[in-house]
């Protein structure tokens, strides 16, 4: 709130620049000194732009969870469960934050082995204003840390779509704490951490491309969701009783905020306000738009009417599928990925789910699991060094990225990445569910489920519109 406060790293060189004449003594040193100061001030200016962008992106990604996802999911359940569903998202904004500060960031981005990070950043030790040049050279490491935290928050929140309306709150808490620790942090390390097994850019042995979280975020959450849905079993009365979305208006708000926030998710993953951020922004928007049309047209054709629930489901499916690809593909391939994700997820959610008869309450698997898998694979097809100059050979020549660049092997790499994330999600989730079930029991009692989780778990009702 006053000029002195901002005299931290960035501002100093700028102000210093004005002081040059006063301190200049002879021409040559003066020039060198001036150059050094200019260098520093230019670096500070770069950091200001990039830091501004990344802080905004961190805010946007938090907004995806709350209110975005909370509304998207909350609108789709019955009125007696809306608060409990929103609480799943909201409480994770608090819980995962604490985990992250204590050990999560370290497990994900600390120097460790190919599978999990080390403990050097425990309690955020050493995570300050200096950039972590391994990951983002122009922003404070704290910015990188808080930005990545927002991803760790939304991922377990996505799973909650599968067990909504029937899981005990205490079990949900325990489950997500364990899951985030055992599945998310290691997976994030493998794909994005330095030396991670699948990190194509920082020394991974299986070079897998995942720009903003197709495997780390969407496959892990979507596949774990399926496991949860199968383990918990169907909601009472499913599918006989009507379980219509109770408030599609708030689901539409949620989907729109997801769309807007996703720019922070994908374009922010460039970790700078660079041209690559713009590319990812454009790909994200085009993917979402095309997927919206894909689902809508498929539904119009198969069901006779295009619903807004279909349109918003499609946009989310597209956002999911474009996520791993967003910083690697041109605009029109982005549309293609989105469009096919819209159609593919529509069939997963309608035909496939009803065929197998599992009760994935809010289609966390059908959208995130299916869309994430499709997107991860198609990233191997459409990734191009015309967009992402991240891989070069020794002579500095750009290496081909995906199939379209002539690197057919990448599809295989992507496939392995997909397999590993499926496997980790399935095994991890099953084991954790067993443990949680033994400790506190995962499923709400029949009475609690009939009364609704809002009352039985939280002692409150969402709407009191009378009187």
């Amino acid at each position: 709130m006053n000029q002195i406060k901002r005299l931290c790293c960035c501002a100093f060189p700028v102000l210093a620049a004005f002081a040059i004449p006063a301190m200049a003594q002879n021409v040559s040193t003066s020039v060198d000194a001036k150059l050094a100061i200019l260098e520093a001030s230019s670096k500070a200016a770069q950091s200001a732009g990039d830091n501004a962008w990344m802080l905004v992106c961190a805010a946007l990604v938090l907004m995806m969870t709350g209110p975005g996802l909370a509304l998207f999911y909350g609108g789709l359940v019955r009125p007696k469960n809306v608060l409990s569903t929103m609480m799943h998202s909201f409480i994770l904004m608090a819980v995962v934050t604490v985990l992250w500060a204590v050990y999560g960031y370290s497990l994900a981005f600390g120097q460790g082995n190919p599978f999990v990070g080390g403990l050097q950043y425990l309690f955020l030790n050493g995570v300050g204003n200096a950039p972590n040049t391994d990951y983002a050279a122009t922003i404070p490491q704290q910015t990188f840390m808080i930005y990545q935290l927002m991803f760790a928050i939304i991922t377990p929140a996505l799973i909650s779509g599968a067990f909504a309306e029937r899981m005990k709150f205490s079990a949900m808490l325990l489950f997500t704490v364990l899951w985030t620790t055992v599945v998310y942090f290691p997976m994030a390390h493998m794909v994005w951490g330095k030396g991670g097994l699948l990190n194509a850019f920082l020394g991974g042995s299986i070079p897998c491309f995942d720009f903003a979280g197709g495997t780390v975020v969407h496959i892990t959450s979507g596949v774990s969701a399926l496991v949860c849905a199968l383990y918990l079993g169907k909601r009472l009365g499913f599918p006989r009783e009507p379980m219509k979305p109770h408030n599609l208006v708030i689901s539409v708000i949620g989907a729109c905020l997801l769309w807007v926030g996703w720019f922070g998710f994908n374009a922010g993953s460039a970790l700078a306000a660079s041209g690559l951020a713009t590319s990812a922004f454009v790909a994200t928007h085009f993917g979402a738009a095309a997927a919206t049309l894909g689902w809508t047209l498929a539904e119009w054709w198969r069901m006779g009417k295009p619903s807004i629930l279909g349109a918003i489901s499609g946009c989310v499916a597209g956002l999911v599928a474009i996520t791993p690809a967003s910083g690697f593909v041109r605009p029109f391939p982005a549309m293609l990925i989105g469009f096919s994700a819209g159609i593919f997820c529509f069939f997963m959610v309608t035909a496939v789910k009803s065929k197998f008869g599992y009760d994935d309450t809010l289609d966390a698997f059908g959208v995130h699991g299916a869309g994430g898998t499709l997107g991860a694979l198609l990233t191997g097809v459409f990734a191009t060094n015309a967009i992402n100059e991240g891989l070069k050979d020794a002579s500095g020549k750009l290496l081909p990225l995906g199939l379209v660049d002539g690197n057919a092997a990448q599809v295989g790499n992507q496939f392995i990445g997909v397999l590993i994330s499926w496997a980790l999600a399935i095994v991890g989730t099953l084991v954790i569910l067993k443990i949680v079930d033994m400790l506190v029991g995962v499923r709400a009692s029949k009475e609690d489920e009939i009364e609704g989780l809002d009352l039985s778990m939280h002692g409150e009702e969402a709407y009191n519109l009378e009187s």
């Binding site: 599918p239 009507p242 379980m243 219509k244 979305p245 069901m303 009417k305 619903s307 629930l309 279909g310 489901s313 959610v349 309608t350 035909a351 789910k353 009803s354 289609d363």
Partner: protein, 112 residues
């Protein structure tokens, strides 16, 4: 005294109210209900889950009236509520044992 209970199409409420007002019937109580009958409902599909919606929105009017106006009022009401299509609704008539105006203890027809 008689009670007229009419279940009508919601979009006919205004016309019925006007028609009743025109013949001097003011007192009535209205509620939102859902009806099931001959009228076919519709299908709603949410992400592939199909629901047959056979409870359709209706409006219920309750009027307590003096015996001697029964005929006139039902006729007026029915005429105003009719579209001629299935689902127009019903009128039921009941006997009323007593009526009291809360404000001032008027009873019987004086309370209406």
């Amino acid at each position: 005294m008689k009670k007229i209970e009419a279940v009508i199409q919601p979009h006919k409420l205004d016309q019925v109210k006007e028609a009743l007002k025109a013949i001097g019937v003011d007192g009535m109580t209205i509620s939102e209900v859902r009806g099931h009958g001959r009228q076919k409902g519709h299908k709603e599909v949410y992400r592939g889950m199909e629901y047959d919606v056979d409870l359709l929105p209706k409006v219920k009017l309750e009027l307590v009236i003096p015996d001697n106006r029964l005929d006139e009022i039902t006729r007026t009401l029915v005429a105003a509520a009719r579209t001629g299509k299935i689902g127009d609704g019903k009128v039921f008539v009941y006997d009323v044992a007593d009526a009291i105006r809360i404000r001032n203890d008027d009873t019987g027809e004086a309370a209406l």
